[in-house]
């Protein structure tokens, strides 16, 4: 009797997890589908900034525990991406939200944003990426500038994030 209850309990948990997964999947798909396929047109730069600052709050930059990788400084993007690919980890632009924003090419000539406005949008997405990170994080930041986004936005956010374990400063692979 006890054994049967235990099995039933175990099966119930599996069922609950499966149901939760199935329930969440359509929601995630729906939220991705709600994102615009291309840049909308705007009457002013300010209108565009308001739009993208709102959009950036909705983009999915989540990573699993211990999966986040950061980089800044010359030569570090390649190292970080190689490390992420080899260790099944994630850089900002490998998240759905990072990829989406990157594809919008907000720093290009035909962007509806001024450069400093695009910096604000990307800075906020970078901050959100650090905010949601959990567990150990891996930072390829040798030569990062003190005024750069890693030093001024991402690192402070990681330091105040209570979900963070160790912040590894990786200088080479």
């Amino acid at each position: 009797m006890f054994g049967f209850s235990k099995i039933r309990s175990w099966q119930s948990w599996v069922l609950l997890v499966a149901l939760a997964f199935l329930a969440m999947t359509p929601l995630q798909a729906a939220s991705a589908a709600e994102l615009p396929a291309a840049q909308a047109s705007f009457a002013t730069n300010q209108e565009a900034l308001d739009y993208y600052m709102d959009l950036v709050e909705k983009l999915d930059v989540t990573t699993a525990m211990g999966k986040s990788v950061f980089y800044s400084g010359l030569g570090n993007r390649k190292l970080a991406e190689q490390f992420a690919a080899a260790e099944d980890k994630t850089t900002l632009e490998m998240t759905p939200g990072g990829r989406y924003l990157d594809d919008l090419k907000l720093f290009e000539k035909d962007s509806p944003l001024k450069p400093e406005q695009a910096v604000r949008v990307w800075s906020r997405l970078s901050q959100r990426y650090a905010e949601q990170s959990a567990g150990d994080v891996f930072c390829f930041v040798a030569g990062a500038r003190p005024t750069g986004v890693f030093t001024t936005v991402e690192l402070p956010e990681l330091k105040k994030n209570i979900k963070i374990g160790v912040i590894y400063n990786v200088s080479r692979l």
Partner: protein, 81 residues
């Protein structure tokens, strides 16, 4: 009149410079409020010109072109050294 070069920013961490059929990729973090340009950013042309030597004069010209594009034409805050 064409300036003889073309620049695009395909990624928040990359500037693509094209000149005379050659392509050079620069690692620049456009999320930073100020962009720092110096000769250490210049490494090599992309293949098939990757072994081609880049003279000091060419490096200066390329940096000046990028500075002009980013600072004068686009309004980025740029520090050239």
């Amino acid at each position: 009149m064409s300036p003889g070069y073309d620049i695009s920013i395909p990624h928040f961490y990359c500037l693509e410079y094209r000149e005379g059929g050659r392509v050079m990729l620069f690692e620049i973090d456009f999320r930073d409020p100020v962009i720092y340009l110096d000769e250490t950013l210049i490494t090599a042309w992309e293949a098939p010109f990757s072994t081609e030597r880049i003279s000091p004069e060419a490096k200066k010209r390329i940096l000046a072109n990028i500075y002009d594009y980013l600072a004068s034409q686009r309004g980025f805050k740029v520090n050239l050294s």
